[in-house]
Symmetry: C2
Subunit: 394 residues, 2 copies
């Protein structure tokens, strides 16, 4: 199939592009390189030394003989170029990673809030507009987040895959109805993913656009078998307070001999998935498109759940690092339950990489290997969720 | 109180600004005059001869001695000017009408779809960003639409005021939960109002912004007692296929001796409210703000429901006009029920103007009085909801 990967130079997009190219799909990458530019603004860089997109693509060609084409454009701002590209390529599917994806970054300032909303909503809407305008049959695969439902507390209801069967009051009685699972976003970033969800709902209903929305957990791991083939193909590893996930920051802290910093009690339970499984899930979604007329297909793309403090303990066991508890800059429940239904992707053939198996590789091959490149002062998370919560967490 | 009316030069905004000024509030109008500019693009104009904003404000001063200040700026595009204004004025409340509000216009082309999404989402988000950034206590009053819930068919459940009490499955049992009423937007315009609703939910929850969201029915009527004081204060009357509501188009057709054109069976039931009541509702909302810490307050702002064909019959009885049935360009149910809970505003003191009382005034004082200004060829609605539905309705 011909696939355009929007945001194909990023952390998930790059290994996805390689994975799809490797199994024989024709892959085109579209990216505005904003992720690299935000690094410049923040004064940080990937721990792993990532090559330029040109060098990446030359290396891929050299090693595998396969060609991935690249177009640099901003799909949120340059609709006419996006439309032209979609008209020329008429892809069977697109994978949409072209969104600002850091919650702390989205909370930094009014500018980053506004950029996140405008970029994410317009990128998603422009893609759908172009597909409808050009009368294409393109399947849209979007990366959403488990976080759209919030992490509200002790409720132990299983999070279903997108839709919830509820009973609604009608004339004194209750009738069953299937609704989009109610949302409860915890940051401006998460808010944009809830907006995307309604945009998808509408364009699927009104124009019949085929859409798969993958509600992803926290992605961990750095390399896939393919990005590990050559140093020029290496994937990015973010450990800074904005783009580094909690696990990456623990790994980095352990590698340089710092205590692992837990915000709050560490009782926050989150869903996780390895980057290899992200790529595999997207391949599965691509090769099993919804039927014509089918409503938006929503999968929970995660393989296991962990509490933050249990994650820290696991890293501690493997590395001997200490653990320290800090004030939580996020406005969230101290402890929450999280039970997630993920049977759809498992039934379609996903065979997960679990943390117990993959964690040592990250410690040795990534965090320790490149620790000399670490800028220690960039690890703390300094974005505050509300102005009234006082001082910065150090 | 000091109130900024965003979109205060428009059909609802202008009479609202006069109404609030008249009862002693300090009113500032902010508008980019986009509604007048869209008329130029569409080659149409208000049936009533509306004065420039400067002439309107001079007339208001001359007649009442009251001052309304005006700032021309685009709040979706010029955040820094918006922030500066909010900082200087520190309003007690803002009324937010600054959105593209025509469903047919929002469906015309990719450009109008994209403009509607980007303008409406960014305008709403920028207002909230500025309030949070400046740590203001400003109460946000927003005009939403009854149409966010869709008009899906024969379901007779009453539409509650914003929230729905459902039963949710948990471990084999059901537990009660209050959720935002599920949405089902019928156009890109309606979609943007569902996006607004989530943006409000988030900023209320995370930052405690006080918000009243008024889910309005179709507004009819042209003048209030205040816009009728002087011809320079006259409100706009749109009868074109994009901005003219179904009732206005019937009135215009009757005034010029054309048949009243019904799209589909005319079984579509909609909620209505007179412009005088819109103004009164906003005054009520302004003077009864939510308490600190209260979630988004949502009122259904409508006073009666009618089927489109019954509306046509009512106009026919008063004018003798014929009725003709045409193909429906919208993708919607042919017939639907609609029962709306609107007790909140009635309890707060709204005393409605019903259609039976106000319709004759519209026929005589507006449609017949200004019929020489009508451009007959602009009455039909030519926006198609989907590309597959074939030819234009004439």
């Amino acid at each position: 199939m011909k696939v355009i990967v929007f945001g194909g130079d990023g952390f998930c997009g790059w290994p996805t592009a390689l994975g799809l190219s490797n199994v024989g799909h024709e892959v085109v990458i579209v990216d505005n390189l904003s992720r690299r530019k935000i690094d410049i603004d923040l004064g940080v860089e990937s721990l792993t030394p990532i090559a330029t997109i040109d060098d990446r693509l030359h290396a891929w060609k050299e090693i595998t003989g396969k060609t991935i084409r690249f177009f640099q454009l901003d799909i949120a701002e340059e609709y006419h170029l996006l439309r032209e590209l979609m008209r020329n390529e008429a892809p069977d599917a697109i994978v949409h990673f072209a969104e600002q994806r850091s919650a702390p970054y989205s909370m930094k300032t009014s500018e980053t809030k506004r950029y996140t909303v405008s970029n994410n909503v317009n990128a998603t809407h422009n893609i759908l507009c172009a597909i409808v305008d050009l009368k294409l049959k393109t399947h849209v695969i979007h990366l959403g987040t488990m976080g759209v439902y919030g992490y509200g507390g002790q409720d132990s209801a299983m999070i279903p895959e997108g839709y919830l069967d509820v009973m609604v009051p009608t004339d004194g009685d209750y009738v069953p109805r299937r609704i989009l699972h109610p949302v409860d976003p915890g940051s401006v970033y998460h808010l944009t993913k809830t907006l995307d969800q309604l945009v998808f709902y509408y364009y699927n209903k009104n124009d019949g656009v085929l859409i798969t929305d993958l509600h992803q957990g926290v992605v961990w791991g750095t390399n896939t078998d393919l990005t590990a083939l050559d140093q020029r193909l290496i994937n990015r590893f973010d450990y800074d307070g904005d783009y580094g996930t909690v696990l990456n920051r623990f790994l980095m802290q352990a590698a340089i001999g710092y205590p692992l910093s837990i915000h709050g009690t560490g009782g926050q339970k989150r869903a996780f998935i390895h980057i290899r499984d992200t790529v595999k899930c997207i391949q599965i979604a691509l090769e099993s498109p919804p039927d014509k007329g089918e409503r938006v297909r929503i999968f929970n793309q995660m393989t296991e759940t962990y509490r933050v403090r249990d994650l820290a303990k696991r890293v501690q066991e493997m590395t001997g690092a200490e653990i320290s508890y800090l004030e939580n800059p996020r406005k969230e429940a101290a402890e929450n339950e999280l039970v997630v239904d993920n049977k759809c992707l498992l039934e379609l053939g996903l065979s997960p990489t679990y943390l117990d198996k993959g964690l040592l590789e990250e410690i040795v091959d990534v965090a320790k290997r490149w620790r000399e490149r670490c800028d220690v002062k960039r690890i703390p998370c300094v974005s505050l969720w509300t102005s009234s919560e006082g001082k910065t967490t150090k």
